[in-house]
Symmetry: D2
Subunit: 394 residues, 4 copies
């Protein structure tokens, strides 16, 4: 058991989002944490602290507009700052939703100038990625419409195809672009890339370097996410994940906090695929959460620990026996293969793995003992005053 789990944990890398360390909230307001990060420097510090404790988070996802306010000019310097702290720049996320120009969409906007602006921003983000050593572009579009009849769905589809083809055509063989889907919010009536089928369509149009990104919170209620994962793997089109959990909408809660068995089933499909292929598939595991109430770094530690736990359990499934039971339609026996692995308490084995890799067995406790939050509060607190945005602008 230990060997299997150790091997699985050794292979596991989880990318942290820079924005997961910043003050975020809901449309009803933000609850400000005095120790939260505001600058890219601070976000990299926080991410590096998590990597120091967990050992499996070597890269940091960045958002172009939030983290590179000076654009390409600052990219090299930021990459060096990251490396000096012990992390690297991971996926680069163009910021295609908050500017006033994007009111009616970015690549799906009926106005060709706005479409061009959005495309330019993506291409600028690609340059930033290259300047930072990143090989991955993650594309999430907030495009859509709020009311029936206000947008031509097929025209917008064509505009997306055209632009994504352009982006895909710029990528070299070691670069990837991931296309994300989301069925709602902030567009309420229709979203231009609403589900995995639409994302797959665009990824295929974009050429050989494009894949689909699965954000676990971007689904309809009751949708079987692990089936989508299995399908995308079987097509060679699963690029990566944005992990989080939710109850109702895209709540961006800590992964596994609402439905840990679902997360386990996702990894079970991945491990089963790897077992059949003889090698684990190459997938980018990224976190995308909004820690509105929990201490942000503690929430990230909890997140990474949860993924490790679930990965360890998925590694424990007896795939040989499972395949036999599935083949014979021995339903209960097949199901119990999963349940047995999920039931296993892997806490101590993970602790042992951490110690064997010179990491603190209990990273949350270690973080709390480190005094990091108190120091961050002292340094950043005066800026992080309450005074955050309200539901209404005034």
């Amino acid at each position: 058991m230990s060997d299997t789990i150790f091997a699985a944990l050794d292979r596991l890398a989880i990318e942290l989002p820079s924005w997961g360390f910043a003050n975020t909230g809901t449309r009803f307001g933000k609850f400000i944490q005095p120790s939260a990060a505001a600058t890219i420097e601070e976000k990299l510090c926080d991410a590096a602290e998590v990597h120091r404790l967990m050992g499996c988070c070597p890269t940091v996802a960045v958002h172009t507009a939030w983290d590179f306010p000076k654009g390409l000019d600052s990219a090299g310097e930021i990459a060096r700052r990251a490396e000096s702290k012990g992390v690297r720049i991971g996926s680069v996320n163009p910021t295609l939703f908050q500017d006033q120009e994007y009111k009616y969409g970015s690549l799906g906007n009926p106005d060709p100038e706005v479409r061009k602006r959005a495309l330019d921003h993506i291409l600028e983000s690609l340059k930033i990625a290259r300047a930072t050593g990143s090989k991955e572009l993650v594309l999430w579009f907030a495009d859509g419409s709020n009311y029936p009849g206000t947008a031509n769905i097929r025209h917008r589809k064509a505009w997306f195809e055209e632009a994504l083809q352009t982006v895909g055509g710029m990528l070299s063989a070691d670069e990837t672009m991931l296309v994300e889907y989301k069925p709602f919010e902030p567009a309420f009536y229709h979203t231009d890339i609403a589900d995995w089928g639409m994302a797959l369509h665009f990824a295929r149009k974009a050429g050989s370097q494009a894949r689909v990104l699965v954000d676990t919170g971007h689904h309809y209620h009751t949708q079987n996410i692990e089936q989508i994962v299995a399908w995308l793997m079987s097509e060679g089109m699963l690029g990566g994940f944005h992990f989080n959990d939710r109850r109702y909408a895209d709540d961006d809660l800590t992964v596994g906090s609402i439905d840990p068995y679902q997360l386990f089933r996702i990894f079970y499909e991945i491990f089963l695929f790897g077992w059949e292929q003889g090698a684990p598939p190459e997938i980018s595991y990224m976190v995308d959460q909004s820690h509105n109430l929990k201490n942000k770094i503690e929430a990230v530690i909890q997140t990474v620990s949860t993924v490790q736990e679930v990965v360890a359990k998925a590694a424990l499934v007896d795939y040989e026996a499972l395949a036999r039971h599935q083949d014979r339609c021995d339903l209960i026996d097949a199901e119990e293969c999963l349940r047995k692995a999920f039931r296993t308490d892997v806490t101590n084995t993970i602790f042992q793995w951490r110690e064997s890799r010179n990491l603190p067995a209990d990273p949350l406790a270690a973080f709390r003992e480190s005094g990091y939050t108190a120091r961050a509060t002292a340094e950043r607190g005066s800026r992080n005053r309450a005074g955050a945005a309200s539901y209404v602008e005034s």
Copy 2:
């Protein structure tokens, strides 16, 4: 206004399902109607009666196991019976779920003998279709699994690909197979063809004669069905519809009875596409409902009337103005183009169209006056005793 509506109604044909005239129910039991049809002869009679009244229902969808108990042998005779009543055999639906062999699936069954049996049944259905003059095979699969880990999702996908490719390869240029999707029921954990993206994948694998069928009740809550319709049309892959409505699950209620504006938006997308292309797309409009409580023929008349009404309204949209508003992002003006058409009361225009085509203006009243139900009750009632299946078998 009249011209536009008359033209739209002249073009509209709606296929009725033979099983819509039979006693159906829920897992909790069936409420038996004495006038319900049991044999294919009776179902054809009922469908022909609707066509006599409505003038737009020339074909009847059939289910292989229910309507051709003698298989191919009876096919020619049944087609002749249909024609003698004034209708024709429409889409042929292989019956791939009720036999005990299909407990763990049909084309997705791990047992190759069951898969072969299912494939044979589909090919037999194709022969039946040809013997009846039908050009359309409609494939709905109940395949899936009830519990995590009990089925290998990717293996089943491969088995489906293989078999559907075989079927597709048998079709000639004037024949079509439609692949239906459904996210749940009767399989509860995973469905092998769960959404439009999966159906599209299989249809493409099946070659040039395959298309996707959209059953309006087979979606996740809040899914934007008209967007799926628009996407499938833009890919040339929308083959047809199974119309019905629902609130929670696949309730198979009268189309438009719960959300008439949604149905209107579906037809708006179809008319918009036709307006842009210069010609309406070729789509099979079929009804798939379960009239558990309403008189079955009356429910079908209500259904066809509702589709006519919604089609008439969709025809009334000012597409010229709409396109302009969409282009300029004049949201309220664009939306009001739809709302204005939907708001229009087209009842009298439809009455006029019917009269001009020598049809009763009020087909429901005409049916009630005809005495048909009383005659059917007299003929069929003694067989249709209560005594239907219970939730538990005993």
Copy 3:
């Protein structure tokens, strides 16, 4: 027909929310409109403009923290300003979610000091209501928790009971407090007042002056809202509505824009109740929408027009015939009573009603001709620069 509709429209009053005229958005940002209102003065102006055009919006709902930054001191003056513009202050909404103190709840907060603060704010809001002549307190609580186990649901219930009892005890016989429910957002795991059953419980605890408020966007998918409305009326506990529409979450879209038939069914239940009782029930009809993309005043005019249209149709139902059909379980005939009324185009009758009341027949056109938006842009535009809050705080 005209008489029935005229009478229904004469009785109809719709309260507009002050915040519906301000710049609002989603957690991903706000799209700023240069003509949007920021101060209570400007919001009252905008509401008065709508009332001038529509004639049925005499009151304006206010939010304590947003509209009374000086608290009670400014209340009388604001009420006078409203009256000078031709409107009155309607329901007063305490603001119990945006302050940093409310991070873990307001009345449900484990900290008794925060609970007291929240209660004091409600009581201050009651004083403001009295100072403005308002008779109605509308209580929406964002209270809840984001993660399992982090909150004691029953303790919080008890704290709510206690505080609401205090508020209820302060009300005189002509004052009302309405308790709103919402199953999600901004709390993601549990909401303290999640559904109508919980709101009803608290309203009953709060005594004779408390009722339940139904926000049409605050429900689970597929929940039958009109049934809740019927139940609350039958218990004498329906106090009012917050109207809006949605597809996925609490999207706060224009009422009736996604599912107009649902809105019609709500009013059908209200009219049926009134028909049985011999008099329409006393219900506060309020709008609660977030016009993120549409011009705000135009969206409100569209909203009020939609409610008028649906009310006119609900008034047209033949309740006498309907009751007879329901009694005999003539399902299709009963259903057609509703469908016939819904199908009727009441546009011209509403135009006639408006003209007979010296109102513009087409208020949207009249508003556009008035030049109001251009004036507001000139006056307010320089303040309403882009620069709105971002997803991340920096």
Copy 4:
């Protein structure tokens, strides 16, 4: 740890449904198991076999029409047969949905004669309960409507109130009636007792002996079931559970098979309540599942094992520490109290408990070794031929 778990398991009794051993299915058909039970005799045998193995299933829920075809006459004899096998008759469930008379409802039917018939059946069921020694009546109503406008929701509510008051008035102090709720199926547009708030209303109307029953599959998607459980306990109105799991609709899958953490959270709320009160609440734990594909007895063993596992985990939560963390809003620490307990592998402790109670440690293995299924197949198989009901009646 062992002591806590042993005590919790000693207290746990789980009632099995007679219909869980019979052939059931979906509206698309039933997959027949040759060893399935058909008569009450066989069902009692199967239930007794499970009790022999698990030791915690002393009672069997019965359905009046299915299990007492001779009504009251056979009741005493059936109770004696049960006792001779080592079990007792548990809750009695009137059968109020399958007879043709109930097409438009039972207690909610507009026809007073049907309402009387339904009431009589409930009172007959009460007599049967008394004749069998049962103290519990479980009332599930399929009542509702399929189409808007076809039923008067408030009149039906009044009829339910009246009848349930009559039933409640007949109960003595040691008898209970439980009112179940369900938002959909088999009624599709509205269900007369759609949610916990409606069930609570009727239970209160029915007097001191009535409580609410929570069927875990009878909720809207994303509804927080454990909150409803907590609320009902705080009102002293939680009577019992029907356990099962589901993904989309009321799938009646094995409890905990889709979302085991949700089941854990339900028991956490129950244990927390018991910890605060100093004694566990009196709640009837009943299973209500439809084992369409799994071997029925094996599925029941799996079900009971799952409940034991989850109960053992809920018993392990450190409620002292949890309460402290909740009080201080230490979110992560509070949450980790739950997660730690859920993570604990209690398999071996449960095995030890079983052995200490002279039960097989692995009841599923013991059952398989027993040869029971082979014997049942031999005895019952010839009757359980395929030939089950089809979707369409013919």
